[in-house]
């Protein structure tokens, strides 16, 4: 008796907690509202099943608790009932899977007008690179990374010359414009994650991975590393500033290109050599 009541309170408590919880989604700031909707749908279906199963169990505890003078029913199988339950479950599962796959299909197909952003991760920080006027990022190699080439751009690649370097852990993005995040890492696994954008993907050394989203709320957001990357993992933060087109273009024009950076270093070198000769 007591057992049934306590279990019942647990189930009621769970439902009330879900309704009144102050802990829920961080406000979304991207196009991935569909993910939230699928989760809400799964909550309704799954939560409904959870409550139904538990209530049925509690009902049995109340109704059929042990009495010496009573016997249980003897019925090893009920093919019809089992069949109904199998098909009902299959339908329910399919109904949840379908929206999940539809949204995944959107997730893996990047819109053509997306701007590419090269996110380079290391232990423990981030830096960013944007394509220049040609709209294409130059190819890179870890071995090329040096002071005068912080992204390891292949010097022979013509597309790389005008790439825009953001040697900061904060990147600015244009509001309402799809972004294709190209992730790479020079050492271990990382994951560039902004909870408000919902999306994430691991950066894997030795390869380039991607995902996309469309920011739709102007503001500043914190970037978290979401794949364990060693002892500094928890402190590996960055930032995103989503701006309107005009503000974004002002910011963009203030950034240095690879060409400019190389020239700056060459000048430094020449100056340094002159100093050395004197």
């Amino acid at each position: 008796m007591h057992a049934g009541i306590i279990f019942l309170l647990v189930i009621i408590g769970s439902v009330l907690f879900h309704i009144f919880t102050p802990w829920y989604w961080t406000d979304i700031a991207s196009n991935w509202g569909g993910m939230d909707d699928t989760i809400t749908l799964t909550f309704w279906v799954g939560g409904g099943v959870f409550v139904a199963v538990c209530l049925f169990m509690i009902y049995c505890v109340f109704k059929y608790s042990h009495k010496e003078d009573r016997r249980a029913e003897y019925k090893p199988e009920d093919k019809k009932l089992e069949k109904i339950l199998t098909w009902a479950t299959t339908l329910g599962v399919a109904a949840l899977l379908a929206p999940g796959l539809i949204i995944w299909n959107q997730y893996v197909n990047v819109p053509k007008n997306a701007i590419e952003v090269d996110v380079m991760a290391w232990q423990w920080g981030w830096q960013y690179r944007l394509p220049g006027a040609d709209g294409k990022l130059g190819t890179t190699q870890v071995r090329n990374i040096a002071d005068n080439n912080p992204f390891g751009i292949n010097p022979d690649d013509p597309f790389g010359r005008d790439d825009i370097m953001v040697e900061s852990d904060v990147i600015n993005l244009e509001n309402n414009r799809p972004v294709k995040i190209l992730l790479r890492s020079v050492d271990v696994l990382h994951n560039w994650y902004v909870p408000q954008f919902r999306a994430k993907m691991d950066a894997v050394p030795g390869t380039v991975t991607f995902y996309w989203f469309e920011p739709n709320k102007v503001g500043e957001y914190e970037v978290l590393c979401a794949e364990y990357c060693g002892v500094g993992h928890y402190a590996m933060r960055g930032g995103v500033e989503v701006q309107d087109k005009a503000d974004y273009e002002v910011w963009l024009s203030e950034q240095e290109t690879f060409e400019q950076l190389s020239a700056r270093y060459e000048k430094l070198n020449v100056d340094g050599n002159k100093l050395a000769k004197k």
Binding site: T21, T38, G47, V49, F56, A72, G100, Y107, I145
Partner: protein, 612 residues
């Protein structure tokens, strides 16, 4: 379908029931059981203390050895979880803890609980003790190898524990041991710690293979007369299928451990691409970190079911016995276990949706993962349908079973969130994942373990554990664990990432502070409550009530041994002969509400047995 059924009807036959025992020889044909094809196995009985209790070949003693060693590692894992919760809930009290420590505790807690505690406990512990008894064998088929299996496990545990004391401490790479960070500086214990971990895992796999061969072959070859596969208790089915999974999955872990050891020691590059560390390019190149993840999860996902399937099997038996009702849909339950086991090899990459593998895999693995939900749901339905119209004893064992159903369904449902590829994207690597897998493969199997301990303790020790203490133990554990992991899902919705030593002051994370304190307090209480069981066991062994034979009035063979606790050889002079499945409870027309598996049909000729 009506909730009520006619009680009277099922009793009608009882008054005319006179045949028990008297008709044994009247109709020998219906009692026919095929003779045994092979003779009985010779057993080596130990002569000295060492042979009887240390290097012992009796599967029951080996089971207890496995159990106690696993519980020891479990207590270490529990203490580590306390330390983690101290840091997360009350960092100001955990000043002694650095980030290195924290990650080492996280890693060791995870690895210990999954491999050295749960796997060893279910298969090594319950498997060894119950398989020969339940299938009616005198022992495992290879007793000597079985003994080696335990001692190999023991050495693996010793090596694992030794890593706490080497320079640099144990590995802090996370239990998934993802390269490259696992073997690079910047991860705690990337020197000796990770080497010992890899060696320990390799030893574990070797030891487990020796035990696993025993479990499989004993079940396939050493069943007693009449014990057909479809008359085996679901416990045996669960352990059997889990063992098959383990034999297929552990090799993937073994090879990945060996390859990583080579990467670490000989600078090979199985998993290591070109890496730039501290301004220098390391001597690696061309390897694939994702290859490791595929190998790891090819082991790691079946591993979940290696833990879950024995739990499914055991809980089915416990529910049936204590609800005094046959397990509903036995054949469905068997096929669900086998089906889940088979499917579990086709879902591994659902741990890798955002790992950077080819994203098109997502469609395949989301589909297979959600398909597995169907047989799993069938099992849940059958458990609650077994309760329905039962005659349920609400004792400690049943409470653990009910707790299992609640936590397992809860954790199973959140699995549908995470398996559903695009829903996984915002939730992966957050506290939602932690809450999910602790609920479904931590707490739920633990509930079964506890239920099984209270259920089989009278058999193992010959004494009844104290019910009152048992109920306290259950309620504190269940309510506490539920209040740890149920709210924790919501931290995941906020976006709080896992494996964070500190949360800093991110605006959406500050609201998590209060909950973290609450969860930590609950974790301290739940952990402490486990010592109620330790106290209960010690008290019972000293002053407990002596158990009668078969105190729960169960049908399966382990309760029909020649002595309690069973001696070496289990069944005395003659092995039992099996005439029916182990779930003939409350059969209309029978004198008692249970008919043991050894009862011949002619002895209960007036009963309406549907299935034997």
């Amino acid at each position: 379908m009506s909730d009520e059924y006619d009680n009277n009807k099922s009793y009608q036959a009882q008054s005319s029931e006179v045949m028990d025992g008297s008709a044994g020889s009247a109709n020998p044909d219906i009692d026919y059981v095929r003779p045994a094809e092979v003779g009985e196995q010779d057993l080596y009985h130990g002569h000295s203390f060492i042979e009887k209790w240390v290097f012992c070949q009796d599967a029951k003693v080996i089971g207890v050895q496995y159990f106690l060693t696993a519980v020891f590692t479990g207590i270490v894992g529990l203490i580590l979880s306390w330390l983690m919760r101290l840091q997360l809930g009350f960092p100001e009290l955990a000043g002694f803890m650095t980030a290195e420590h924290y990650y080492q505790f996280v890693t060791m807690h995870g690895m210990i609980m999954v491999v050295y505690f749960l796997t060893a406990l279910f298969l090594g512990g319950f498997g060894n003790y119950l398989i020969p008894l339940m299938v009616g064998a005198r022992d495992m088929v290879f007793p000597y190898v079985n003994m080696l299996s335990f001692w190999m496990f023991f050495v693996a545990v010793a090596v694992l524990m030794a890593s706490f004391f080497v320079p640099g401490g144990p590995t802090g790479a996370g239990w998934t041991l993802y390269p490259p960070q696992t073997i690079l500086e910047g991860t705690p214990g990337s020197g000796m710690g990770i080497l010992l971990m890899l060696i320990s895992l390799s030893l574990f796999v070797i030891g487990f293979t020796m035990g696993g061969l025993n479990y499989m072959i004993t079940i396939l070859q050493a069943r007693t007369r009449g014990m057909t596969l479809m008359r085996m208790p679901l416990t045996v089915w669960g352990i059997f299928t889990a063992t098959v999974l383990a034999m297929l999955a552990f090799p993937a872990l073994l090879v990945s451990a060996i390859m990583m050891t080579l990467d670490k020691v000989l600078q090979t590059s199985f998993f290591m691409p070109t890496i730039l560390k501290a301004g220098e390019v390391l001597e690696y190149g061309g390897g694939s970190p994702i290859l490791f993840q595929h190998l790891f999860w090819f082991f790691g996902h079946p591993e979940v079911y290696i833990v879950a399937l024995p739990a499914f099997g055991i809980v089915s038996d416990l529910i049936s016995v204590h609800a005094r009702k046959n397990i509903f849909g036995y054949r469905m339950m068997v096929w669900a276990i086998v089906g889940i086991g088979g499917l579990s090899f086709f879902v591994w990459a659902h741990h890798m949706y955002v790992s950077g593998m080819n994203p098109w895999f997502g469609f395949f693995f989301a589909t297979t993962t959600l398909i597995i939900a169907v047989p799993t749901a069938m099992k849940v339905y059958n458990w609650i349908l077994t309760l329905w119209r039962g005659n349920i004893r609400i004792n400690t064992v049943m409470l653990w079973c009910l707790g299992f159903i609640v936590t397992f369904v809860n954790g199973g449902i959140t699995g549908i969130f995470l398996g559903n590829v695009s829903v996984d994207v915002p939730l992966s690597d957050t506290y939602f994942v932690i809450a999910h897998f602790h609920m479904v493969m931590g707490i739920a199997p633990l509930m079964v373990i506890m239920g099984a301990v209270y259920h089989w303790f009278p058999l193992v020790a010959g004494k009844m554990l104290h019910e009152g203490l048992g109920k306290w133990h259950f309620w504190i554990t269940f309510l506490g664990a539920y209040s740890i992991y149920f709210p924790m899902h919501y931290l995941g919705f906020i976006g709080v990432p896992r494996r964070y030593f500190e949360m800093y002051d991110s605006p959406y994370m500050t609201s998590a502070v209060g909950m973290n304190e609450f969860i930590s307090i609950a974790a301290f209480i739940v952990g402490a409550a486990q010592f109620i069981l330790v106290f209960n066991i010690i008290k019972t062994l000293k002053t407990g009530k002596k158990a009668e034979q078969n105190p729960w009035k169960a049908n399966s063979l382990e309760w029909y041994t020649s002595t309690v606790p069973p001696e070496h050889g289990n069944f005395g002079e003659r092995l039992p002969v099996v005439h029916r499945w182990p779930y003939d409870f409350s059969v209309p027309g029978a004198k008692d509400d249970f008919i043991p598996q050894t009862t011949a049909p002619s002895e209960v000729i007036h009963t309406e047995v549907e299935k034997t």
